[in-house]
């Protein structure tokens, strides 16, 4: 690779790459993000390469591996370009047929096609699948065109042209002004105006001129993984955004703080940084502009609190990841006491888009207060699990039913949890709520980083609240009393309630405690921690009351309040459950209904798993 010394050289390189590529050539694409890999996409990709070379077609047909396409439910996915014929849940055994029938003879293999769960209709082309057509994939769409290990793929899409535009056609103030006009708000959860942060950091005094720019990739909210997908699938969009931001702020030192649970994102980012450096798109004198900026990677150690800005910076300094009070903001005194600007992965990925297409174009998308798109990870009890990028202002109903395909197994929707452990649960009555930063807060939840966990009738809301409080007691750093002790007490009360020991007045006590923790905690972890409890009390008070007054778990989840019995009508007496029961609690003769001994039963659920006749009743 030759170092690029000007914007013209970048343009020439892009043109050269494009001239070598024929958009009409057949290309077989496998997505190998974490979800795909976990389902065997690597084997599929290898089978494709092997089959093509066995048939002597290696030189006439292209193959490509990309990051995640967001439709995790149907992985591993193979798409044949240029028509974009999509095959789902492909195994290596399917590949010879895919190549010989579909790639060579142009015939569609019916059984591997995606079928719409609501209509049962088979869909041939990727671009016609409702999951995709109803989204606005400004950030995610390029994932399908890019091999993240090849910077040339990003350059072929005009990558880094926006950086050249910023460096050579704009002064830093203009870049800042454009982001301000676009009203970009932080995608990590807070929704703070990005340009205002940049401006404060740029204007903060620094004795030696050192300022830091950090990308927060410590995506700690359970059930949220859009940042993983962006870093894995399109790392250069994040890098380009960071360089443009650093130029606007006047920073020469950057960090990406990646959580260690994302080994593939880390690997792809390391490769991307190396390749950007080799081309001179990172490092000293970027594109011959005289601007220097480089990025280092720092790995997290599995602490949720390190997503908080001051804790993250402490961890970057090699210290314990504890937050500090923010009387002085990190934009003034952050990493090593220097002005520091921290934005999350998705925020950075928005920056090239805004500078390239302009604030006027960008601010047409979204609502009055919240502009652009937001990526949500739609997970839990939902048909189409995956990453969904939609314009701000879309309703929850559209996301869950039109894109998500509704609830599996004909079950009833109960709630959607947004905002991770800092957020809350939103009930069915609010499904027509337009999703933006303000409305979610009004509903007692928050945007957070974009996790949307769907709960159905079989989900116990008290158990969900307990889950988050337990999570937070483990993740509380312990520095301030309200968060450390208050959450522990909340967990005690919730545990009592779920174990049938709940008392009259517990709900009120939870509300009071929650209020105090919100008011008095040191950092955002504590001040938002009671949200899951308070929002479930607000919307599902009857479930709490059923646990406390009737000692009953309506969803059949809380172990102490449920019993496993066998439906005599349905049980054919196959003895499978007898063999699997670890407690030897089930008895019965062959071909006669079995019985569970309640004294011995530990409610492990093994019998329910193994029963083919749905004869195990949980009540």
């Amino acid at each position: 690779m030759k170092r690029l010394k000007s914007a013209a050289e970048l343009e020439e390189l892009q043109a050269r790459i494009l001239s070598r590529r024929d958009p009409n050539r057949t290309c077989v694409v496998t997505s190998v993000g974490t979800c795909g890999l976990a389902r065997g996409a690597e084997d599929v990709a290898q089978a494709i390469s092997k089959t093509l070379s066995d048939l002597g077609l290696k030189d006439s047909i292209d193959v490509k591996t990309t990051g995640c396409q967001g439709f995790c439910e149907i992985e591993p996915v193979v798409v044949i370009y240029p028509e974009r014929i999509l095959y789902q849940q492909v195994t290596p055994a399917d590949i010879p047929e895919v190549i010989s029938e579909s790639v060579i003879k142009n015939e569609v293999i019916e059984r591997l096609l995606y079928s719409d769960p609501s209509t049962g209709q088979k869909i041939i082309h990727e671009q016609d699948i409702p999951f995709y057509t109803k989204q606005n994939r400004l950030l995610l769409d390029n994932n399908r065109l890019i091999d993240p290990h090849k910077i040339d793929d990003y350059l072929a899409l005009g990558g880094y042209s926006t950086l050249a535009k910023a460096l050579f056609e704009m002064v830093p103030e203009q870049v800042l002004e454009e982001v301000k006009k676009a009203n970009l708000r932080g995608r990590g959860g807070g929704g703070f105006p990005t340009a205002r942060k940049w401006e404060s950091c740029r204007n903060a005094p620094s004795s030696d001129g050192v300022r830091y720019v950090i990308c927060n990739a410590d995506e700690g909210d359970p059930g949220a993984y859009m940042d993983r997908s962006l870093l894995e699938g399109n790392p250069h969009s994040v890098i380009e955004g960071m360089v443009i931001g650093a130029y606007a702020i006047g920073s020469h030192y950057g960090y990406v703080y990646v959580r260690h649970e994302y080994p593939l994102a880390l690997k792809n980012l390391i490769i991307a940084l190396e390749q950007a450096r080799e081309y001179g798109l990172l490092g000293e004198n970027i594109l011959g502009s005289g601007f220097d900026f480089d990025i280092k990677i720092s790995r997290g150690g599995g602490a949720f609190i390190c997503g908080e800005s001051t804790a993250l910076m402490a961890s970057l300094e090699g210290k314990i990841g504890e937050p500090r009070p923010k009387h002085i903001h990190t934009v003034v005194s952050g990493l090593n006491g220097k002005p520091t600007n921290l934005n999350n992965v998705e925020t950075w990925a928005n920056v090239p888009l805004i500078i390239n297409k302009g604030a006027d174009w960008y601010s047409q998308i979204g609502t009055e207060e919240s502009k652009g798109t937001k990526i949500f990870s739609l997970v839990g009890k939902i048909n189409n699990t995956g990453l969904v990028e939609v314009p701000m202002g879309i309703t929850l109903r559209e996301i869950i039913y039109d894109i998500g395909g509704g609830i599996p197994d004909g079950k009833k929707f109960k709630a959607v949890q947004t905002g991770g452990p800092s957020g809350g649960c939103i009930p069915e009555s609010l499904l027509d709520l337009p999703v933006d930063f303000e409305r979610l807060v009004q509903a007692g939840s928050m945007m957070g980083s974009g996790g949307m966990i769907v709960a159905d009738e079989d989900t116990c809301m008290v158990d969900v609240a307990k889950y988050f409080v337990k999570f937070l007691t483990e993740e509380s750093c312990g520095k301030c009393v309200p968060c450390r002790e208050g959450l522990d007490r909340m967990l005690d009360i919730l545990t009592d309630i779920t174990e049938g020991q709940g008392k009259e007045g517990d709900i009120e006590l939870l509300e009071e405690l929650g209020g105090v923790i919100k008011e008095t905690s040191l950092c955002a972890l504590g001040s938002t921690a009671p949200n899951p409890v308070l929002s479930t009390i607000r919307y599902f008070r009857d479930e709490y009351e059923a646990h406390i007054k009737e000692k009953r778990c309506p969803a059949g989840v809380c172990k102490a309040l449920i019993t496993f019995t066998i439906d005599e009508e349905k049980c054919p007496g196959c003895q499978r459950c007898i063999k699997v029961c670890p407690q030897m609690a089930i008895s019965g003769e062959k071909k006669k209904p079995h019985i569970i001994d309640q004294e011995k039963c530990i409610k492990c659920g093994l019998c329910r798993d193994i029963c083919k006749f749905e004869a195990i009743i949980v009540s």
């Binding site: 300094e317 314990i320 990841g321 699990t385 969900v464």
Partner: protein, 167 residues
């Protein structure tokens, strides 16, 4: 020092001896030795010119680190929200029962260490159990025994940090 920790120096040097890379350094050491041996921590403190307590503080603060030797196979149960609502706790209960240990513990024969993780970001596969870097999706209590048995017979552990393919 009764063990040869010469690789520690190499790892520290790889990060330019920077204190800001402490977490990364500890991670590489753990990948090498499967845990953080006390003597290795002493060496890191020495080389980064830090007090041992500072290194110890970081090593105990983060969930990713273990100060005790870990078993040959690392079993990690994802307890993210999506996995939770899909009955991950029942899966964890069954693994605890099968191995006779709780999260953070290692079996007496040093075969298995059980750990939990807050989210692996692969929610479509939930509930997920990872054994030595290999992902097992759509888990249920009933599948636990068979999967653990595969490893009971397996001779050597694979590196935890690698993502591997599962079927």
């Amino acid at each position: 020092m009764n063990h040869n920790y010469e690789k520690v120096a190499t790892i520290v040097t790889k990060y330019g001896g920077n204190r800001d890379s402490l977490v990364s350094i500890l991670q590489d050491i753990q990948a090498e030795y499967h845990y953080l041996p006390e003597d290795a921590l002493r060496l890191v403190a020495q080389q980064l010119d830090l007090q041992l307590i500072q290194v110890y503080g970081v090593a105990t603060f983060f969930k990713a680190f273990s100060l005790k030797p870990r078993g040959e196979h690392i079993v990690t149960v994802c307890l993210g929200t999506a996995c939770h609502v899909r009955r991950a706790p029942a899966v964890l209960d069954e693994i605890e029962r099968q191995l006779g240990i709780e999260p953070g513990e290692t079996t007496e024969d040093m075969q298995f260490t059980l750990e939990t993780v807050n989210c692996l970001g692969a929610c479509a596969l939930g509930p997920i159990v990872v054994v030595d870097g290999k992902y097992y999706g759509q888990m249920s209590p009933g599948k636990v025994k068979a999967i653990l048995n595969r490893y009971r017979k397996a001779p050597k552990a694979r590196k935890h940090e690698e993502i591997e393919v599962s079927r």
